[in-house]
Symmetry: C2
Subunit: 212 residues, 2 copies
């Protein structure tokens, strides 16, 4: 069986997709049409997973009370984190917009179902954390598929994971992987916001090919 | 600033890329030309990372002794895992080809540098595992970029992580995320090998949009 060939034009566009993906924190208020989100979640079926375990669970959060509880969790965790920085770092940290929880029309919590028996445990005896990596990569599939449709996502991790699990009334063995703010980006950039804000620069160790 | 728009043709091809990505275990012996692998690793610079921490480290493993030590680790971990299955599952497990360590022209170990200060810890106070998720996402960027060029990758996790770290003489706080077998696939399929082999089927919970 022969798979598809991808031409140079596609390779360039794929590079553009990676380059313009962005972690989005500033959203327009336009809603996301119809079943777009459900379609994007369906696309995650094509994500890689250890032993074909498919452990990701996508939960759309619409209830205002639940959204408010999660925003509260962010505020606490963010204030706590700010307390750990000093001087110039603290000033910069305080100036960053680290979540789009108020503006984003869609909130999605993504969990890893640690109790799943799908895949029969294959591939995770010595590396049990592979299950969570599979869920993290499903987030990335969603993210790329969304951006290709002009939709932005921001991955919020400044949250109390247990509070999110309880607030959303999901099984206790669903481990929080990501809380995604999703919507149309207010602006588009090809550089990470944390780079533009002077928080961090490219790390050359991340593009080096080490040899052994 | 306006980012690129992606047309329907690109969306279809992106879907094809997700659909045909595959975890490859059967490789042709053709080498990968010149600096293709280094170029693919450069592409991972565009991966998302928590607080812009960029914690992934790609290590090409060429030394025969090191490859042999890692193949030995796979053999042990695989035999141990087989011992955990019974009856039909054990028979099926034994018949699966779970690594392409012998055939793949390129071996790549991917680590998460748990000691990195890049990103200044932003976004991982309450979810420290975010750092490893960032490295897992970089593996996926590599995987997609490789497949778009006709190159296959197989993510081996049936290994003793500490032995890999020691064998490759990398810093002890580099946590093993993936050991990738890379090369041109012997065959191409649009269905996961574990599905074709009757090990597991699609899990509808992974494509459902839960609501709260």
């Amino acid at each position: 069986m022969n798979g598809p060939r991808f031409d140079d034009t596609f390779l360039e566009r794929l590079h553009d997709l990676f380059r313009w993906r962005r972690d989005v924190r500033h959203f327009r208020s336009d809603p996301i049409a119809g079943d777009t989100i459900a379609e994007l979640v369906k696309e995650t079926a094509l994500s890689p997973s250890v032993g074909y375990s498919q452990p990701w669970r996508f939960v759309r959060v619409d209830t205002p009370e639940r959204r408010a509880a999660i925003a509260g969790s962010f505020e606490r965790a963010n204030a706590e984190a700010l307390g750990g920085y000093h001087g110039d770092d603290a000033e910069k940290y305080a100036s960053l917009k680290l979540a789009g929880l108020r503006d984003a029309p869609v909130h999605l919590a993504v969990f890893c179902d640690e109790s799943t028996t799908t895949g029969k445990g294959l591939g995770r005896a010595t590396m049990p954390e592979m299950l969570a990596y599979s869920a993290a990569n499903a987030v990335y599939t969603f993210w790329l598929a969304a951006r290709a449709r002009g939709i932005g996502a921001g991955w919020v991790s400044i949250l109390e994971p247990q509070l999110v699990t309880q607030t959303l009334d999901v099984p206790p063995d669903w481990k929080l992987i990501a809380y995604l703010c999703v919507g149309y980006p207010a602006d588009e950039y090809d550089r990470p916001e944390l780079e533009r804000a002077g928080w961090e620069t490219r790390d050359e160790r991340a593009t080096k090919l080490y040899e052994r």
